[in-house]
Symmetry: C2
Subunit: 435 residues, 2 copies
Amino acid sequence: MNRVRFEGLPCSSVTSRRNIHLVERLIVDYRLRTQDDPRKVAETVAGEQSSGTFIATPGEDLALKERASATVERLEEVEDDATPVLPGSSGADRARSFRLRLSWPMSNLGPSIPNLLATVAGNLFELKGVAGLKIEDIHLPGSFKAAYPGPGFGIEGTRRLAGVASGPIVGTIVKPSVGLDPEGTASLVDALCEGGIDFVKDDELQADGPHCPFEDRLRAVMAVIDRHSDRLGRKVMYAVNLTGEIDEMLHRHDLVVEAGGTCVMVSLNSVGPTGLTALRRHSSLPIHAHRNGWGYLGRSPDNGWSYRAWHKIWRLAGADHMHVNGIANKFWEPDESVVVSAKACLEPLFADRPDRVMPVFSSGQTVMTAHPTFERLGADDLIFTAGGGIVAHPQGVAAGVRSLRDAWDAAVAGIPLGEAARNSAALAKAIETYG
Amino acid sequence: MNRVRFEGLPCSSVTSRRNIHLVERLIVDYRLRTQDDPRKVAETVAGEQSSGTFIATPGEDLALKERASATVERLEEVEDDATPVLPGSSGADRARSFRLRLSWPMSNLGPSIPNLLATVAGNLFELKGVAGLKIEDIHLPGSFKAAYPGPGFGIEGTRRLAGVASGPIVGTIVKPSVGLDPEGTASLVDALCEGGIDFVKDDELQADGPHCPFEDRLRAVMAVIDRHSDRLGRKVMYAVNLTGEIDEMLHRHDLVVEAGGTCVMVSLNSVGPTGLTALRRHSSLPIHAHRNGWGYLGRSPDNGWSYRAWHKIWRLAGADHMHVNGIANKFWEPDESVVVSAKACLEPLFADRPDRVMPVFSSGQTVMTAHPTFERLGADDLIFTAGGGIVAHPQGVAAGVRSLRDAWDAAVAGIPLGEAARNSAALAKAIETYG
């Protein structure tokens, strides 16, 4: 078999769907654990996801395999953490861990996200030889770039609409998550706008429940935002949660445009890939993408997705802001994992288009997490949302927002937090409160 | 708080979206593992998914909580299997397992599948107190029945279109999974129709790849099926894989209708919930729902979904046939788990509408698995797909199909397989081959 060499990524310059260059291949990295013969298992994974369970047709089998087989490009042993394996795992050896790279001919699937998913994340997790499998990375060939628009706004577009030219976009989440009616929500947003916030988002639990219908909430909140926009010289960006069926989402998007809104929010796992694509193709606003449910995809050390691989699907489909959790978050996730996710958002998907997206930091964020976030991320292109870190500031919401900006200014300028607090009463009080 | 009693399911008879009866609640069963205080963790899960991270607003908090809180309805200890816990789990106790039942007021979310998912499968898997969490069952309140049509064909409609009044619908999957062109696929289907098959499906890897475009494959295969239909007195049902973006799927669906096809197939995890809903609302054909990727959702013993809970989402959205793997399958899954899944498909979602769906058995199915399948399932309302179990029959495809029908007839009639083989040369040879 003529194996194509892959130094860097094999991006074809041919973009027509029906004429994908024959050498274009999709490359995916996995971490595989097995108690069985690793080479055999790797070949089984590749076979299951291409022409593997082949019953020979005389004269045709070799040419067909040449054309359609997935190829094991790399199988490299790495340290195994000796934790128990997935149930039903075959083989009697101790579990071993491998970096496995597979490639597929793009002529099998075409540049289609749904069919990409069936190919790289289909039945392979259920194979007996697999004692553990994580999708670590997906290297998207160039034909995907032609087929999907990617983020419509990304970092620059979001900054422009939010009126925040540099530094983090400081935001908060409407709390309680659910239970406020439209007027209650608007009243809370009023206090936040008064306090100088850049960005407000709905909770993922609040979309169009009977107690707080989407349209009523949108109108009530946008009236408040409009009222503050002259004084602020910008419109507070409100990521209104339009998660629903496709027709509902497109209709709600249009209502947001009509109402002068500048952002929409959607729960990715709730709508699925085709839902996000449909929204993106219709949308004229940045799409704030919520990852709720990510735990059932990513928390198991031996099954599922890495954030790096998973988030690429949604960026390709059109997300502009991607949730990444936060440093010192209230969830299980270690800081290192959060930083890796956020850095992935700041890398381009394709070298020659501006498709970097805003990582969204949330969960337990306060003035205390600004310095470590900046130090570890090395960038301030992010949305930094704090709940209690703003509204529980003893001097009020305005001081809460002020303290976060001061903390971030200090972080970016390389001034220690304590030193910066000498010139900011709001920051000093925040350190006392959250430190 | 006035806690509603739940004996059976709390189905309200009120169906209007905006006027959901105030007592209607959504009930969900989880299996929770924790190393922490179980009552506290259960309350945290309920709180995280409703009005939990509440910062009190004077005079409003109690009424709001009364209205919007999720409630811990049951927390009952069960045996723990003492396997390691998910990373980042808090608490120093040994892990304990619990049946946890939560309920939510439907006024929080309304009868919306996407928002149901954010509510019952949102950020809760990431909580530190959670050492393991599986969604075991979702009890859908009546307002969902009004909001979603469910399966359009189910068991009876599928039988009618396939021309198979009783017994299993005997089928096969186009193999190799991927690599045949439209003519190659049609030629294989020709042999299968010649052999008397009831049902043929595409592989999930084959949708609209450049090497085997959807439209060309559809036309080539339907020409073959039409040619055989007079002789057979029925149209072989071809579940053609239309997985793609929404507009592509709706267009392909219309092409299938135009070509006289009787079924469409879709990969659920590839399109997501809103994609399936959009397809269902447009479709005039049964929807064959493929679960590829299920492994990353269901194989971890301590994270993710049970099939019972997960499959309800797709049935509600409109799937007619649901894959359940097979007895003695080639994957990791034990038979008991397969049987539980298949039985779930045969239970109604709502008592008063015909919404049972066809379980689809596949993976390593042969004449040897007919008896155990019937004995354990107690029903023959199913699609029984065999690959090698048909095409590798030494006497050819027709004998392969014949042997499966004879095995199933015997199973349903209570005749042992060996005894039935005395009157069927095809079955005798199949037992020799696969036994």
